[in-house]
Symmetry: C2
Subunit: 244 residues, 2 copies
Amino acid sequence: MRNLRLDICYDGTRYRGWQRLAGVDNTIQGKLEQTLSRILGEEIEISGSGRTDAGAHAQGQVANFHCESSMTCGEILSQLRRYLPEDIGIYSCREVQPRFHARLNAVRKTYVYRLWNSPGPCVFERRFVAVDPRKLDLEKMRKAAAFLVGEHDFSAFCANKKMKKSTVRRIDRIEIRQVGQEVRFVFVGNGFLYNMVRILVGTLLEVGRGEREAESVPGLFGAKREEAGALVPASGLCLMEVEY
Amino acid sequence: MRNLRLDICYDGTRYRGWQRLAGVDNTIQGKLEQTLSRILGEEIEISGSGRTDAGAHAQGQVANFHCESSMTCGEILSQLRRYLPEDIGIYSCREVQPRFHARLNAVRKTYVYRLWNSPGPCVFERRFVAVDPRKLDLEKMRKAAAFLVGEHDFSAFCANKKMKKSTVRRIDRIEIRQVGQEVRFVFVGNGFLYNMVRILVGTLLEVGRGEREAESVPGLFGAKREEAGALVPASGLCLMEVEY
């Protein structure tokens, strides 16, 4: 069996997220598996580096799949580009070690969250941002973000209430930058729980609006979901990179 | 009567172009007039700096309109932002001299044409580019572009065969740059004929692909439409700026 790696991007606006769902046509994984199965003439199952939420995007999703076909990687790539919808793109398709697994081998991920923080028009970016023109104190938000960096129990930032596995994750870096009319958040870490980035942003925004103290953040580690901030919209979220 | 100026942007993908058409709902001008008329409670007609093609975009369209209403510019702006669809944006609304006319007073316009010149995915830019991965010789294209700069009879670059007015226009500057996987064309001039930018790009692309000599360009001035290059898709075209 060959093991092939795909580097993928998508505009997630019209999808129900990455993960294949029984009876649901519009998931990224489902669309990729369906297209690959047709191209290769065999049943293909792919493993992504992780799920992305309904409506969230990816510029650097990675997946792998096993196949029997002897079709060259170049041919698979051009067939995928031909048959995939225009909101899913493939950067590359290449042969990898038999043991490479897109999820299990991922060591670091980078997410970006884009907030359009202005009443001005965001016509050209509208699919890839969340909009909230309320004023933000970026310095306070950076102070709060500094508390989040490191290895912590992010239970309060996980929307899966039945999560039985560890909710401990390590965040290596958080950047908060003004880019024109946007506030752009970058999160780098070894892994992120269900909805974690969006709840982190929601919590930081509450600090930025003066509704929560930066110093209250350490008290959220190991706490319940209700104690952290609100979930922000998926449209602003993009998986930028997965490192192996 | 007050005279108000609007600075406007739009994603033209789903529109039949700028100009209001009888019986057609989806034009930018029509949408703006309809919305303004409702907000102000009087029949509003707007003048744009010029028409843009069906499917073409604008980041810097300018229009003006006269009204009796005493509503403040700030209020009109926020009402417009509230009621316009998300693919039309308003940067500003301001009171101007009674004699200001968005079309008649325009002295210079800048258009950008974006060509996605790669087989790689353009998922995030797909609404704002035309795609053609064929190889291009940018140096030859720049050489051809240099012939176009200046005041010339651009009859061959005008799709309106019944054009009775002068087809003489002045191009001040043409830039052709590689920006990542894109080739980006910038055109600055005192005015552009119907489809002119798209035919200029089509002609330059023929030079870039070796199908036409750069030196043949001066022979196109005053010539017939058939002698210039093909019309390229509207999706790559954006009106960037109008100067007064």
